[in-house]
């Protein structure tokens, strides 16, 4: 029988499966205190899922609050929406605004790589759509266990096919991201999906339910039994001991329906027939109704019998918790209903009135004519528990920091240096990623100015003026492991530099904070340090945090992942015709290194590839120097001085030089400073490799002013990378090996030369 509110009042002592639903004893106690009775099983379902770490940010809230101290202004003006909305919105000028966000879908992607990754893309796209923006592109940062680990051959192709299968079918170009391998991600890959959307200032929509009598409409896909892992506990334990088999916990995506949902929703916005819209993601109807109601000024009444189901055996608890994809909720005034349904019919989108906004402040949900939920929606959506988790600096960190690269064997002569150069360039983290990115459509919508493997993706926004945006996502978790505060700033600096290298002005960030278990004090310390690093860094760079996502409990067995605070940087470029590519363009161009190289080998790709070593201290970021460098790059791009610009990061000059050559087919003749090894493999931040006609060298030099810059060589057409006095390596052979690393490891066909 259904557990109604009346029943809950009559049977206060029933034992409820709160622990199985992930609630702690004191959390269950506070639910009882809030309701002044025991919750019904439907209410228990709602609270448990809304008070989960994923939905309530209960472990991270106190730390995320510190982001509030950052100014809400970008170099281009005030934010139009910030943290707390479904995605931040940035004014980019000419009445255009951009909204962007990264979200993790790590755990589902391990369980079922294809659907986990696919629905990760789908979810973040609906967040962007709910702001009133047209989604225009995706990026994906993927992290896997070692490339040669057996399960990587299952997880990697599945995740990549899922990202591509969903995104390609939505017609969103995938313009960048990362592919990183490290043993710590073996049983816990990271799938961080970024979506970006564009809108005119007047089209911004924030989600809330207002005005008694307005209708609540559920539209999009029907509700099924997918993605409700937890609720099956309720169903089987509360009602029927032999009950239905446990429901699958991973959602299944249908990108075709989502494509229709996008077009339909944009048309609904344009027609002005919606007051508020929210996507249904984690916690499904529980989340959408409680958030819409608590953000509005009234209550809400929902008749759960009206929800269209694809499986009519679902219990009300399951309907409330279902995470079936491709669904949205809208609040619509009665006089707009006809037009609303007309637009949905045009796009073959199913739409159903399931309730209405009411006077008062209660969220009431009925099932078969009886009330099964009667709560203050604010207590569900916003008054979840808040934890001040214990933090402790790991006791292993001093030993790790003391184990520097100083004692590691360095190449003693030219041939050894060449061997190290080659091995670093073709190693899994530095090799060609086109096996992955060729499975994504990077051209659809016709505005992709730059896409992978460029330093950042770039999109034209305004065909008339050439106004555009650039996006880069970065995190070197090896540095964050050695020092989470510094590592987070290095991620920020790298993303900032990647955007600037293409000629765009960095204006704002979003983040995706992937960490281990928050119940581990060492992880909480890493988390807190990373946030402090980001805040201090953003203060200096003048780039606000527009929003973000936290993913905890990323670990395999007892081993936490390396702390991975991913930074997504948005840049603005006034005219995309000024964009700068990373590869060499002309034989005879001078090659110049901007920025200063120090002896920074700790945590480097060289240490990883050659010595399988991680230890010491990460490079010291100098954000003022990053700003000065960015200013030079922006002016040089506007004045069309540069033929190419490529950020130096993992693998230092060695990798930047090799990529600039391999992607272009040109060679280079380089004369490096005396300690050639350090010059090639140091990973000092704040550096960019540029090439330009000799005739423009003095103009560049003038722009640089105090910024260290040195001519290192010349672009050649002899097909060789020559490090004078050390070695010469054929670009085509290097390229073949660099392109084969992933296909060979996965035993698939390598792509032919472009």
């Amino acid at each position: 029988m259904t557990d109604t509110v009346a029943n809950a009042k009559a049977t206060p002592d029933v034992t409820q499966p709160w622990a199985e639903l992930g609630l702690k004893a004191d959390e269950y106690r506070s639910i009882r205190e809030i309701l002044r009775r025991r919750p019904t099983s439907c209410e228990l379902a709602m609270y448990s899922v809304m008070w989960s770490e994923h939905c309530s940010y209960k472990s991270s809230k106190v730390h995320l609050a510190r982001f509030a101290q950052l100014p809400k202004t970008t170099p281009r003006g005030p934010l139009l929406a910030g943290i707390g909305e479904q995605a931040g919105v940035v004014d980019i000028g000419n009445d255009w605004a951009v909204t962007f966000k990264v979200e993790s879908h790590n755990h589902p992607s391990y369980v079922e790589p294809y659907q986990g990754a696919a629905t990760g893309v789908g979810g973040i796209v609906r967040d962007i759509l709910a702001m009133g923006a047209r989604p225009i592109a995706s990026m994906d940062s993927l992290r896997f266990g070692r490339l040669d680990a057996p399960d990587t051959a299952r997880v990697l192709p599945g995740i990549v096919a899922g990202v591509g299968g969903y995104g390609n079918c939505l017609g969103l170009p995938n313009i960048g991201g990362e592919v990183v391998f490290d043993a710590s991600y073996y049983g816990n890959p990271l799938v961080n999906a970024l979506s970006v959307g564009v809108l005119k200032h007047g089209d911004l929509h924030l989600a809330f339910a207002r005005g008694a009598g307005n209708k609540v409409i559920l539209y999009g896909a029907t509700t099924g039994g997918d993605g409700i892992g937890g609720a099956s506990v309720l169903a089987s334990e509360t009602f029927d001991a032999d009950g239905p088999a446990k429901r699958p916990s991973v959602q299944v995506g249908d990108p075709f329906t989502e494509k229709l949902l996008i077009e339909c929703t944009l048309e609904l916005f344009a027609a002005g027939v919606v007051n508020g819209i929210q996507d249904l993601g984690a916690a499904g109807i529980s989340c959408a109704t409680s958030e819409l109601a608590s953000a509005g000024d009234g209550g809400m009444h929902i008749d759960l019998d009206l929800v269209p189901l694809r499986d009519n055996t679902l219990t009300p608890e399951e309907i409330l918790m279902s995470e079936s994809q491709e669904r949205m909720a809208a609040v619509v005034e009665p006089e707009n209903l006809d037009r609303f349904f007309e637009i949905c019919a045009k796009w073959d989108v199913l739409a159903t009135v399931i309730g209405e906004v009411t006077e008062g402040d209660r969220l009431v949900i009925d099932w078969h004519g009886e009330t099964v939920v009667d709560v203050d929606p604010h207590t569900v959506a916003h008054e979840g528990p808040v934890y001040q988790r214990p933090m402790a600096r790991p006791d292993w960190l001093d030993a790790l920091n003391a184990d520097t690269t100083a004692s590691l064997g360095r190449p003693g002569n030219g041939p050894e240096l060449e061997e190290h150069f080659r091995r670093v360039v073709v190693s899994p983290n530095q090799c060609d990623k086109s096996w992955v990115t060729d499975q994504y459509d990077r051209y659809v919508r016709g505005n992709s100015v730059l896409s992978q493997p460029e330093d950042s993706g770039m999109l034209r926004i305004d065909e008339g003026t050439g106004l555009g945006i650039a996006l880069a996502t970065d995190c070197n978790a090896r540095f964050t492991l050695l020092d989470p505060y510094v590592g987070a700033q290095l991620a920020l600096a790298e993303a900032y530099r990647n955007v600037a290298a293409t000629g765009a002005e960095p204006v704002a960030i979003t983040d995706c904070l992937n960490f281990g278990s928050p119940e581990d004090p060492e992880v909480m310390w890493q988390f807190s340090q990373a946030i402090d690093g980001l805040i201090e860094g953003c203060k200096i760079l003048g780039t606000p945090v527009t929003g973000g996502n936290v993913s905890f409990y990323n670990r395999t067995g007892e081993t936490n992942i390396m702390p991975t605070p991913l930074v997504g940087m948005l840049g603005v470029i006034d005219n995309v015709a000024d964009r700068v590519k990373s590869r060499f363009q002309n034989q005879g161009d001078a090659i110049v290194l901007l920025g200063e190289t120090r002896n920074d080998l700790d945590g480097s790709a060289w240490a990883e590839v050659i010595h399988n070593h991680i230890g010491g201290n990460p490079p010291k970021p100098c954000l003022e120097a990053e700003q000065a460098l960015a200013q030079v790059l922006l002016r040089a791009s506007k004045e069309r001085l540069l033929s190419s610009a490529h950020d130096l990061s993992d693998g230092g000059l060695a990798v930047a030089l090799a990529e600039s050559a391999m992607l272009s087919g040109f060679g280079a003749r380089m004369k490096l400073p005396e300690d050639t090894f350090v010059a090639l493999f140091s990973e000092t931040p704040g550096r960019v490799l540029v090439s330009l006609p000799e005739s423009k060298l003095s103009a560049l030099s003038q722009l640089c002013g105090d910024l260290p810059h040195a001519r290192l060589g010349t672009v050649t057409d002899d097909g060789a990378l020559t490090i004078t006095g050390q070695f010469a390596i054929a670009v085509s052979a290097l390229r073949r090996e660099w392109a084969a690393t992933i296909p060979v490891a996965l035993k698939t066909r390598p792509r032919s030369a472009r």
Partner: protein, 227 residues
Amino acid sequence: MRVGVVTFPGSLDDIDAIRAVRLTGGEPVSLWHASDSLEGVDAVILPGGFSYGDYLRCGAIARFSPVMAEVIKQAKAGLPVLGICNGFQVLCEAHLLPGALIRNDRRTFYCKDQLLRVESTSTAWSNKFATEQEISIVIKHGEGNFQADPETVRMLEGTQRVVFRYLGENPNGSVNNIAGIANERGNVVGLMPHPEHNVDPAVSPGLDGVRFFASLTNYLTSLAEEA
């Protein structure tokens, strides 16, 4: 020159085709799948995408839409029609072109700049190329492996109806490296590569797509002169 671009539910490159028509001097006209009017256009493009989610088979549902009944009728009467990627699949399902497009032999979606050789310049969409001209056009598809029975392939080869052939790498396993074919009259062409992505200097890797549209203009002009 008014060129209709059909939007099916799930069409994706319709906006790209519309932009390409505009950039190459034509007047694009949006055509909706549920309407049976072609609004008097001079030519029709069936764009890329995943019409009807590619459910059942790529293009299998789209061919039954009201707009396709009219496209089929007018194509048989000589209206120039270009099917790009999913549009090519629709044309095969509609039997305006022979053969079928099956899953890539590599079994993954594949996006790259692909070299092609122009094999026939006697169609409405390829007459401004030089024969055997080598061009680079974007490909991006998961099911572009063109197959037909040997007799049909012999017929296509023998009657100059293979219009484009993959050069260098065969990206999908197509028989005889076939990338695009025409109907007997040469007014209907289907191909997996996306010429609409190769017309815009700001974003395109190359501009070899422009000649597809120049060919159409030339074809329509010659027709008008003959009349």
